[in-house]
């Protein structure tokens, strides 16, 4: 195509445009979950703007809980309306897919967020300062740690109630992420849920230095990765001339003759596709925390306020895997033979890497971070299966895993000493003697992580491995079980520490939480056990939800 032609076409399109721009039609009903959450977020901002400090906490809490609940209800409604199955469709001018996986994941995310908000709102754990109950967020994020401003803020009993709208924004982005049906939406959604998380990471009340460092690292690396993602998108766009999943898929499947002989002339345009695909993949793998894009995970998990960590660890993974699934299953199925081996490699190093490095960790939050990496590897094994079972197994695993994670981190918030949460493992010695219940609950979560039967962890692991084996990835299964064996080692180590070693005299005390955290933990345990003992219903749900719309 010559320059003249392109210039001309550019002119003509420009000239032809003005009078007849088609007004987009948006299916508000089907987008309602997202809209509700984002709306609530804006309301939250307004609250911050107009309500006096004293009332913000309650108002924010109320708004966000209601919003999340309502959004969840909306999801249920959509699912009940068969939007997950028969009426699955692409909404908002092809930007958003409303289908089984989308709804399932949105539902999961919303529930996780709801529970997470409970932990955000917890105000019984930290000792009362100047007569004010405080949560785990900085009195004033802007104030220099240990500075006068901060002291004043603390004295005044300030609290960062902005976390609620931030969470809501993040959730909004996460809701869009797995249902994004074109790469632009994908990118925007990614940023929409990443930016609030960056901020949330920086808001810890205790150990703010760590918290801020975490934020910086997370932000820089996150931006770095999203740059890659964006460049990948650019290349894919260059390859297909469109960013809509279905459009690219058509080109990949060769249903559409590629429209750019100019490119064809210059470079083997599959290279564009492959490189672009790889870079987009990288962007998602970063969010998942797959080796070698995982290195931010331990630091951020450790530094961030524990409730945030729990929320991130659970919800981000769900959203990111959702997006990954859609990308691989909708956009690149034609490329299966190209990306599968690569993903094999990633899955293997992720499983083994996460498990092995975790063995020598000494900090509970870092330990859980590495374990989350290992689990990412297991889930990838299911992703690779490229069968409907694969999809549903991943969905199930995500649901199971996210609640275990949330619960585990919620427990972490309870174990405290003078310096706030006592996350160093040595301090957990003999916890089982001091407060058997908490220790037992945490043990349940650890066993679920380890995939011991009768916990959700086992059901999920089995589902994934089964799918992988069916999908002809037997080797992955073997490596999976080996790394689970390694992983078991450090989960057990923690249990040994809690139950079989004598309590230290200077050991931490277990704070008695308010119903908020308690209910969060309770929900975690309940889900863990139910999904472990009677997973059939949820497996059905997942398998019904196992089909992507195109």
């Amino acid at each position: 195509m010559t320059h003249a032609a392109t210039v001309h076409s550019l002119w003509t399109t420009a000239a032809a445009a003005p009078d007849k721009i088609p007004s987009p039609d948006i299916e508000y009903g089907q987008l309602s979950p997202t809209l509700i959450v984002l709306g609530a977020a804006i309301v939250g901002v307004l609250i911050e703007a107009f309500l006096p400090r004293r009332q913000r906490y309650v108002a924010q809490l109320f708004v966000s809980v209601v919003a999340l609940a309502a959004a969840f209800a909306a999801v249920i409604g959509l699912a009940a309306g068969d939007y997950g199955t028969s009426k699955a469709r692409v909404a908002a001018m092809g930007a958003i897919a409303v289908d089984g996986p989308a709804l399932f994941l949105q539902g999961t995310i919303l529930l996780v967020a709801l529970v997470a908000v409970f932990t955000f709102a917890e105000r019984r754990l930290d000792p009362v300062v100047h007569g004010n109950r405080v949560d785990s967020f900085a009195a004033q994020a802007a104030a220099v740690p240990g500075g006068d401003a901060e002291k004043a803020a603390v004295k005044a009993g300030f609290t960062t109630t902005e976390v609620f709208p931030l969470v809501l924004f993040a959730v909004g982005g996460m809701l869009v992420f797995p249902s994004a049906n074109d790469l632009l939406t994908l990118f925007v959604a990614l940023e929409v849920f990443s930016l609030p998380l960056y901020i949330l990471c920086a808001l810890a009340r205790r150990q703010r230095a760590l918290s801020q460092e975490a934020a910086v690292k997370y932000f820089l690396l996150g931006a770095f990765s999203s740059a890659f993602l964006l460049f990948g998108i650019a290349l894919l766009y260059g390859y297909a001339g469109t960013v809509s999943y279905s459009g690219i898929a058509d080109v990949v499947d060769g249903q559409v003759r590629n429209v750019t002989p100019a490119l064809a002339g210059t470079m083997g345009n599959d290279a564009l596709l492959l490189i672009g695909g790889a870079m987009v993949l990288m962007g998602l793998l970063f969010k998942i925390g797959a080796v070698p894009f995982h290195m931010w995970t331990p630091d951020v998990y450790q530094g961030a306020p524990t409730p945030v960590t729990g929320f991130m660890a659970a919800a981000t993974k769900v959203a990111a895997f959702g997006a990954l699934l859609r990308l691989l299953y909708v956009v690149l199925p034609g490329l299966r033979w190209d990306w599968r081996p690569v993903m094999w490699g990633v899955a293997i190093v992720t499983m083994l890497g996460g498990a092995i490095v975790a063995v020598t960790q000494t900090d509970v939050k870092r330990l859980l971070a590495y374990s989350s990496i290992a689990h990412a590897g297991f889930i990838l094994a299911g992703v690779i299966a490229t069968t409907p079972e694969g999809i549903s197994s991943v969905l199930f695993y995500l649901a199971a895993y996210s609640f275990v994670t949330l619960g585990a981190f919620a427990v972490v918030t309870l174990v405290r000493d003078a310096g706030g949460e006592a996350t160093h493992l040595s301090k957990w010695a003999g916890l089982g003697r001091r407060s058997p219940l908490v220790a037992a609950v945490f043990a349940v979560f650890l066993l679920a992580f380890a995939g011991i039967p009768l916990t959700s962890g086992f059901a999920g692991k089995f589902a994934v491995f089964k799918a992988a084996a069916d999908g002809g990835a037997g080797a992955l299964v073997v490596i999976g079980v080996i790394s689970s064996a390694v992983a078991a080692f450090f989960y057990i180590r923690v249990i040994v520490l809690m139950f079989f070693s004598e309590p230290r005299t200077d050991g931490p005390s277990v704070a008695v939480p308010s119903p908020l955290t308690s209910s969060a933990i309770a929900i975690g345990v309940a889900v863990t056990l139910v999904l472990g003992v009677a997973p059939q219903y949820f497996l059905d749900l997942a398998s019904q939800a196992g089909v992507f719309v195109r």
Binding site: W337, W339, V357, F489
Partner: protein, 631 residues
Amino acid sequence: MENLIGLLVAVPLLGAALLLCGGRRLDGKGHYIGTVLAAGSFAIGAVLFADMLGRGEHDRAMHSKVFSWIPVGGFRADVAFQLDQLSMTFVLLITGVGTLIHIYSIGYMEHDERRRRFFGYLNLFLAAMLLLVLADNYLLLYVGWEGVGLASYLLIGFWQHKPSAATAAKKAFIVNRVGDVGLSIAIMLMFTTFGTFTFAPVLTNADHASEGKLTAIGLMLLLAACGKSAQVPLQSWLGDAMEGPTPVSALIHAATMVTAGVYLITRSGAIFNAAPDAQAAVVAVGAVTLLFGAIVGCAKDDIKKALAGSTMSQIGYMILAAGLGPIGYVFAIMHLVTHGFFKAGLFLGAGSVMHAMNDEVDMRKYGGLRKYMPVTFITFGLGYLAIIGFPGLSGFWSKDKIIEAAFAKGGTEGWILGGAALLGAAITAYYMTRVMLLTFFGEKRWAPDEKGHEPHPHESPSSMTIPMIVLAVGSVFAGGLFSVNDAFLKWLEPVTGHSHGDSPLSAAAVTAGTMVVLVIGVALAWAQYGRRPVPRTAPRGSLLTRAARRDLLQDDFNHVALVKPGQYLTRGLVYVDHKLVDGVVNGTAASVGGLSGRLRKLQNGYARTYAVSMFGGTAVLIAATLLMRAV
């Protein structure tokens, strides 16, 4: 009648149960209960005997199945008894001598606070021994076989506070176990060969089986016999077994248990008849042991050990006879019975002496006891005459027949065996005379022990002397009685069968020979111990003597060849298990840890490093994807 057979075993078993579980409240009358029950089972035996005599010689065998024991597939073992002339003989011997020794023990164990348990063990032994001889299949026999082993273990170690006793007991059990392995393998072979291990079918079909199999079975049975009957090479335990109370030595380690091997071989005659090689092995073992035991017997100063050596040697005779096949079976058993009488008598005599001498066992510290304890002297003397084969006494009849049979084997083999038997007879005469002289003749050599107790020898209580007298009577007349127109031969022949070999020597010649060697033996002993006074401490003696004192170095050999290497092996294995097998496991764990530690270093906290890994990762990702397409 059949049901009485079971009772034979049940009665003493009941006794054992009562006495062992009865607790202290039975301490007072425990020994009576035990004795009465033993006598009871003897009575039953007598009744059955009478009944058996009442019947024609070919339908004398009785059989009674109690219940099906182990039915698994083709493998069917019953608890069933078979009482034929052979087992009848044993029943009478066991219960008879057994009862006598129970009575004897009442006196002998009077001062032991654990006498109740002692009688419990004795009853247990009777039950097991009866089970052994009454079983109608090899597996049930095996139960009795190990049962007597257990009883002997418990009784040898009865004085457990003495480490020597405990060790001796353990040794006896383990050596026997080695023999038992033979028995169990034999049973397995029978099962794979015949599909059964019940006497009747196996023995009547023995000749159908290949000779190889039969030889194997025979050798395994022989191994078992060696263990139980203290035959070379498994004889080492018997000497130590004398640690047990003397009645035990008399009953178990002289009269009954140790002869079980002879029973086993005789019972399995059909198999051995069809397996000449196995028979050869048997006679070899017998011949060797009869000399071995005799030599050992010559050197021991411990009266019981001397007798133990003699026992070994006498059983050697029996095994030899049994090995000769149909020629010898009957005489083996006959000698077994007579030996049962006189050897038990001798042991009881020895016990009586020890009783009088504060449990002193060193004959060099006896001397001239005949004045102090006449009854013991006389009974012991009769037993002595019997064992050396003094014409007319029991030993004479039975041993003579064996020597005769040995020659009758024919060929050089016959000469060798006969010669050995004769030589053995000579040595027997020598060492028994020695015992006799050292103990009852000469001047008194005992002195106050370190605690200053001067022993005051006295005759034992009647509870002890009566059994001795009875046994003495037996050892005088039994042999003659049996030989009255071959009564014993006729009695047993239906079971064991009998054949007359063609002896190169006439019976008279053999008898003459035995007389000569007898005189020689006695004369030698007299020359050495009768004429001149005996030193209280043993002279160093010749090399042979010293070796013989150490059981011809048997234990030393075992120690060097088995015990030491075994200890090294186990220690080595413990090390291997810890360092190697377990080391591998811990090693893997450790290596994972190490790897983890190393990988951990990558996480150095620098955001830029993380960026590098991401960058590199992306590069690899892209490269890999392109590569995939390329290939």
